[in-house]
Symmetry: C3
Subunit: 501 residues, 3 copies
């Protein structure tokens, strides 16, 4: 009975959208829209017009895989050499993406007579973009959820922060954190595990509609675990339904998760010379060009320039290959857990073990867990590939000195973290706080929180400021050296006050 | 004698401005400028050219009320059905606004032979925009000054923060806060009471000029109490003299007052997916279109989309009506005083009384003062009207889950505020601090300040991040759960240190 | 042998760049490129294409000094009346700038047969821009490095913050700060001393190249001490190689160094009404116009409007002269060291001595060191020149009241700093901390750090918010009055906890 109603609705709104969808195509023949996608558009034009308009602006609505495959390789955005013939000659519409691989999709459901997946996963996108999906699947981003969840140390830190606190008789107790809170804090960026727990009928503008019931949804975290088992969300950076390369290349996108106080990349960029030039001139650049030409299309790096875009010289020589393994041009992991260290070999960092048997890339006193980390040769190779980007505008000696400074800063700031670890050990030794020696939570007391600030906020702030050629305030007064110094003094004062009778 | 000089000056600079003012009109007959406005322009072109240029760019300079009234209703920016005939056929110039209602304006004065008001008030704007003025007059914004000043609890908090501190013999004493400091802190956003205390002669580029002497001026706070008795300042959001709908719709405007740490709406927006798309694409949008069409004119919400603009689908069906009662699409008041609660029934919140007789929307332990707050039916209605905006781009299930998460977060975070209240009560009970039980100021001691941080900064940060689908760092490390947890521990440490002999 | 290789390379890549460089010139004859610059371009097009593209976009690439000298004075960007004849009829290319004054340049070296300076200094720029270089040389900016280094009090503060901390037996020790850390913190903005210590061979894409070995490089700090002895870096604000007036006029440039928490000018601007209008409308303005016309070219101040650009009315009357002595329109120095005071007479502030013989512009209790500071007459003159900019848009009474409020705020906030000084003196008196009375470092203990926060962060925040007509949160909750009040209480609590046995 429902289906009859839907068919009627479908017919009612069929005609005008065809014209609409054809508008964007300006030269030559209009690309075809599949019948199924046309059916989607006919209703969704009325019920969710915002995303239909978005899609109409996308390249997906304006070209077909067959046409895309004819482009010269350097200008191509598709990495598949071939796509299933049913997809070849139609634009990439609703149905082409939301109906792929129905058998592996636990979120597949009957929607107006079509078998639709709620979530389009990297596995689905790999139909046309297999190289990107493959690169991504090996990255720390794809494993971002598991890297928190499967690591008992990180998990304890998360739980200490997010657990519900209860005060009774002046004591602070903890109750387990809730899924909702986890979903909108750490796992908002890291990604949640989206599971299908059944079906429910929801009331919409069209009346009751049966849909899959999803846990930890909505979520667009980079390491989302999807109902088809794949990891990641391409929409983290290419938001629906424009799937724009322009948006992904603008630093606002990266800035949603890579920001102060723990990963202040975006904040440092904003206050750097590169950021200054970006904000002053960006409206004159071409953020849609593939390949992306230094000087012609852009005139200062954004995040994407250094970390993942396909970059060429003005006359088309490749400077850096496109990659969707975002750490693959990086040799050192600045982000101190607890100290900087060479980049992990694999995206799944939960398998790393330090000498003390803890799942950390260094010991509490800074010794790296070398077998899980890339070796010196690989570090050197990556540093060279990054330096090649720098030297398109900067002299080699400038670039060398910049990275020499970074190397030194990492050592010096890690030394500041070590100094704070020594004060923490002192507090534990005298039972002023209860941590590892007492077999207790090392993250929940006053001095432990100060210690976390030292390496998670202040040390990272100085390191990111150093790495990105700028933002002296993030190295100085704004979560920088001022705070490293002041916080160490706070730790000492805390110990002194605690010792009083 | 002065008037003779002014008349001469007037004649001297009369001619060129006429041409200037007529420039913007491109099609058909030039709209007329009134003789009086022409006189204003002739001098002010020389003395304050910046605002003359601004006005020339405004719609006010390019159209007449008579022409505006001919527009189809959905495209109309005027809500009056009729205006006084003297205003009908001239553009909306200096004199048309600054000479209205002279009898109610205590700031009216003789200026070069004209009777001019210094301040144009919402009462004056209501000549052409009565619906907007009416809606605004009932809003919390219009009552923003009184809501602080007439509430003894809030007033005490304001005074505790702003009072001048004197140190004598190691003790901190307080002297009353100054008008200037009040004007540029709390009341810069909330609005000051502008009174006329006489007349003064000031030296200008033209020589001595007699003008009204105003208190607490300049100020553009949303709840300004004007010399004509009206409340508000349209220029808070439509800055003089372009009175631009574009500026008001851009989030920078709201962001002047709705920002961290107490009301972090702007900061959360900047770091959300909506903000990311806004900053990446805004230069391609049409911020001047009335009505404002989803997908066509804009592609992601700004503050105005969700809270007050007239929004339609691409083909012109109304999704949300325009409102200048900015809370009218809101059901819950996130901003914790001390806990979240249903929105107040009236813009004047100073009349609310909780069970303990205090002028607060909840008790210290969270019980809402229901009779002053909207009921469940009204809450549901408002939630539906907001959800309707969301569902133009998002699935109904997505939208429902988003708001279910928000409901849960409010409860959970308020529980964190309650836990900190319990520690405060503990400190008061043991006379470690002196607050309500001692009949003393509950806002001025160390642990009391920590308690304020908990509900005014950190709880709000998590709630706003939750409400606006994004900004996980504001829910986590940046005034979020990290701080809720850490600050609770600080309170406990403070109590412990204070108890030592 | 090397030279032969270079000559071959040079010939290989000679042809195409000529066409490239000529592209930008659109009307009439192409400006000539010198033979030397052509040689630079021919190789650097391949090795550093980014900066070649940048330069091609610059005015330097599109005009010659001879042509520039023909412009009417108000529209001229060059202040020299005449340039050496060798420079007159060629565009301002690589060689024209990097080969000037070789004898004074210790960083001059043989590069592919040309004698090249690594660094182009203000002394070199003064060939065409002597007035700007002269003004700059007398400013606090030019002396920014020395003003820290030559002042033992400031130097001690810098060293206390940046020194490496070592924890031994629960005690915190200090080791001297490193050059690298100094370079990327305080001296990143203030400027480093760049010295030539020899020559080194570096490996580049072209093979081994001999270059001067520089200390404290790279650096673009405003007070950089250059290898030719001059002070400053024009590239601080006019970044290489576009040397754009547009970038320098946009507030992102000033915002790199003038930002929170110590100098929150940029942050305050962003949250002010002026900032709101700037961000909403800037894409419609003309940032390249010389002179810069109020209302026509821009519609609200940026930093440059108030502090240094040549500003005229729409019809070309000068409102403010261009200046590159950036403090010259300022009468009061808000930035409290430790209290606000009249602007210093000279850019070199290290020569100022207060009554206690310390090199500070005030005593610890606020008395100004008058002989080093401008007198009342000069203060009045500067206030009038700034007010003239304000009154192009604002009424005289508005402007007067704005500055009256600022005057009052300075006094009141300095009083808050004084209250915190009194608590510090109390702590020193009772030997709870060791500072001046004990002949010890006044900057390294807990209560001393709180005292620094009071005047360096919180007092400045309120003062800047007051001065720039906005950003009420910087005057209230965000490093403002809330923090002034709370921090004073922290100091009192610290004293109390310290006194316990």
């Amino acid at each position: 009975m429902k289906k009859v109603v839907y068919s009627l609705l479908l017919i009612l709104c069929l005609t005008p959208i065809v014209l609409l969808a054809q508008q964007p195509s300006q030269k030559g023949a209009t690309p075809s829209i599949s019948q199924e996608t046309q059916a989607c558009l006919d209703c969704h034009k009325t019920y969710t017009p915002g995303i239909v308009e978005d899609w109409l602006r996308s390249l997906h609505a304006k070209t077909t895989p067959a046409a895309a495959l004819k482009k010269p390789e350097l200008r191509r955005r598709m990495s598949a050499q071939k796509v299933p013939s049913s997809l070849e000659k139609v634009v990439v519409g609703c149905y082409e993406c939301h109906a792929l691989n129905p058998k592996t999709h636990k979120d597949n459901f009957d929607h107006m007579g079509f078998q639709i997946n709620v979530i389009v996963s990297p596995q689905d996108c790999s139909t046309c973009h297999p190289v990107e999906a493959k690169q991504y699947s090996g990255s720390k981003k794809a494993h971002a959820a598991g890297n928190l969840l499967k690591n008992p140390v990180f998990n304890l830190l998360v739980e200490t922060i997010l657990s519900k606190k209860i005060v009774e008789n002046g004591k602070i107790g903890q109750k387990p954190s809730s899924d909702f809170t986890r979903q909108e804090t750490c796992f908002s960026c890291h990604g949640t595990e989206v599971k299908v727990t059944g079906t429910e009928t929801i009331q919409t503008a069209m009346g009751g509609v049966d849909v899959p019931k999803l846990t930890n949804w909505p979520n667009q975290g980079v390491g989302r675990i999807n109902p088809d088992g794949s990891m990641g969300a391409c929409s983290s950076c290419h938001p629906r339904h424009q799937f724009s390369i322009e948006v992904a290349r603008k630093p606002y996108t990266c800035g949603q998760c890579h920001l102060d106080p723990d990963v202040p990349a975006w904040n440092v960029y904003k206050e750097s010379k590169h950021g200054n030039i970006y904000f002053s001139n960006d409206q004159k650049w071409n953020f849609n060009a593939v390949p992306w030409r230094i000087g012609k299309d852009f005139q200062t790096p954004t995040c994407a320039v250094c970390h993942n875009s396909l970059i060429t010289t003005p006359d088309g020589k490749v400077v850096a290959e496109r990659t969707h393994d975002f750490g693959s041009r990086l040799w050192v992991r600045l982000f101190g857990l607890i100290y900087s260290h060479p980049q992990p070999k694999h995206g799944d960092t939960s398998v790393i073990k330090n000498k003390d048997g803890l799942p950390l890339p260094t010991t509490f006193t800074g010794e790296p867990a070398l077998e899980g980390l890339i070796d010196e040769k690989e570090q050197k190779k990556r540093k060279q590939s990054m330096s090649k980007v720098c030297t398109q505008c900067h002299a080699t000696s400038w670039t060398n000195l910049h990275f020499a400074k970074l190397d030194h800063t990492i050592l010096e700031v890690d030394q500041m973290s070590l100094a704070s670890t020594q004060l923490l050990l002192e507090a534990w030794k005298h039972n002023l706080a209860e941590g590892l020696p007492q077999g207790q939570n090392p993250f929940d007391e006053g001095i432990e929180q100060m210690w976390i600030r030292q390496w998670l906020f202040y040390a990272n702030s100085v390191k990111y400021a150093s790495a990105m050629t700028g933002a002296p305030d993030y190295a100085t007064f704004k979560n920088g050296w001022w705070n490293l110094t002041e916080n160490l003094q706070h730790m000492k004062d805390w110990i002194e006050f605690k010792k009083k009778k």
